[in-house]
């Protein structure tokens, strides 16, 4: 078992072709070649922090403002899910809670864990950490459900005075938070998970 780096080669992450170390762009597909993304972890943590900053107001401010003949109500992400549960639609409430609370929080934790264990090492096998990464990458987009619901409802429910729905400020910050965490996960170079500590010398370009 050898890696491309141990063989003195650099692999293209887009098309899997290998080139001699020092080659700068892949002649097959034109991507930039890097044996390891040197600034990968810095980029991961930068997006992570911005995502986290956006996630806080997303939970404090209303996501949805509903105006009816008799009342006007504002609901936050969690508040909205609880309302749905009160209507007896427990399954839908669970979907909303999982998509907008469990997944984002889990993602923040998982990305931080992966970034920290690259430098500290971990008791978990690289294979398990690779799986964690794949789950994070697959699941991140599902957090957008609530944003889409807000966009749909505010376009649909415009029944003059009877009822109307507007997006609250949280809709924007939540969408940004999801986008930033997706970028954070994308910046992570999974090859770092597989490098044994001895291999992590100076990072070649």
């Amino acid at each position: 078992m050898t890696t491309a780096r141990q063989a003195g080669l650099v692999a293209c992450r887009a098309c899997a072709r290998v080139w001699p170390m020092g080659h700068e762009t892949c002649d097959r597909c034109g991507s930039r070649l890097r044996s390891r993304e040197g600034k990968s972890l810095q980029r991961v943590m930068a997006w992570w922090v911005v995502g986290m900053i956006c996630y806080i107001p997303a939970n404090l401010y209303p996501m949805l403002v509903t105006e009816t003949l008799v009342a006007s109500s504002r609901s936050t992400i969690v508040g909205g899910a609880i309302e749905i549960a009160h209507h007896g639609e427990v399954l839908i409430a669970a979907i909303v809670l999982i998509a907008s609370v469990l997944i984002p929080v889990g993602k923040f934790a998982a990305i931080a864990y992966l970034a920290i264990t690259v430098s500290r090492g971990s008791r978990n096998t690289p294979l398990r950490r690779q799986h964690i990464y794949e789950i994070v990458e697959f699941i991140g987009r599902w957090s957008m459900i609530d944003v889409f619901v807000v966009a749909i409802l505010s376009a649909l429910v415009q029944l003059s005075v009877v009822a109307s729905i507007h997006p609250g400020p949280a809709a924007l910050t939540f969408a940004l938070s999801v986008i930033f965490t997706m970028l954070s996960a994308k910046s992570f170079d999974t090859r770092l998970i597989w490098d044994t500590p001895t291999e992590q010398g100076p990072v070649h370009p």
Binding site: C29, F148, R191
Partner: protein, 210 residues
């Protein structure tokens, strides 16, 4: 293999993009997949008919996305007043200042990105399947198509429709419009499409015919 820079045998190697493990590239048997031993990433999957299927599905997806953007996906009625919206209405329904971004971003992720991605795939795979030289800028087009993959969110939108339906059930009666069913079909097509798409084979085809 045609002219390549460096020794010819480099072209025979393949490195796992996720863990850097090096292998001799060997085409797996028909219908089988070559999987990285270390991290279980699928490296190569060959199916005689894969290219044609991806092409056919991409064309279907393209037509469905365009149609689904114009038809209403949800209809509402309450106290004698009704409303029906298509995604085009969502895009143009900006009333509230900065939150324009929310509706514009939603429509981009639901319609525009999937549409661009399928057009790019057709553009790249079409000539290869017809045994013609690859289209101009095929490399860039395929790169972009791969980059856009996580940002195409049709299936997330389908679930969003179902949630929206329940969320306002006490305000008004909601019904699914034709575009909702198109999106449901689309989501399945996109899923199958991505399963058939073998990145390595396409890059290889682009390289071979250059």
């Amino acid at each position: 293999m045609t002219q390549t820079i460096g020794p010819d045998d480099l072209a025979q190697l393949i490195a796992c993009p996720n863990c850097d493990e090096l292998y001799q590239a060997r085409l797996p048997d028909e219908g089988e997949r070559a999987v990285c031993h270390r991290c279980h990433t699928v490296l190569i999957q060959t199916r005689e008919t894969a290219g044609r299927r991806v092409l056919a599905l991409s064309i279907a997806v393209m037509i469905l996305v365009i149609a689904a953007a114009f038809f209403p996906f949800l209809e509402i009625s309450a106290a004698g007043i009704g409303n029906r919206v298509s995604l085009l209405d969502v895009a143009t329904s900006f009333r509230s200042g900065t939150l324009v971004l929310v509706s514009v971003a939603s429509v981009m992720l639901i319609v525009l990105v999937p549409l661009i991605r399928t057009v790019l795939l057709i553009y790249v795979i079409g000539p290869i399947e017809l045994h013609r030289p690859p289209a101009r800028y095929a490399k860039r087009a395929f790169h972009l198509a791969q980059e856009l993959k996580p940002w195409a969110m049709t299936e997330v939108f389908s679930i969003g429709c179902a949630v929206a339906l329940v969320k306002v059930s006490d305000l008004a009666r909601l019904h699914f419009g034709p575009a909702f069913w198109m999106f449901a079909a689309l989501s399945i097509f996109v899923l199958i499409n991505d399963r058939y798409l073998c990145t390595w084979s396409i890059w290889n085809a682009i390289e071979d015919t250059q």
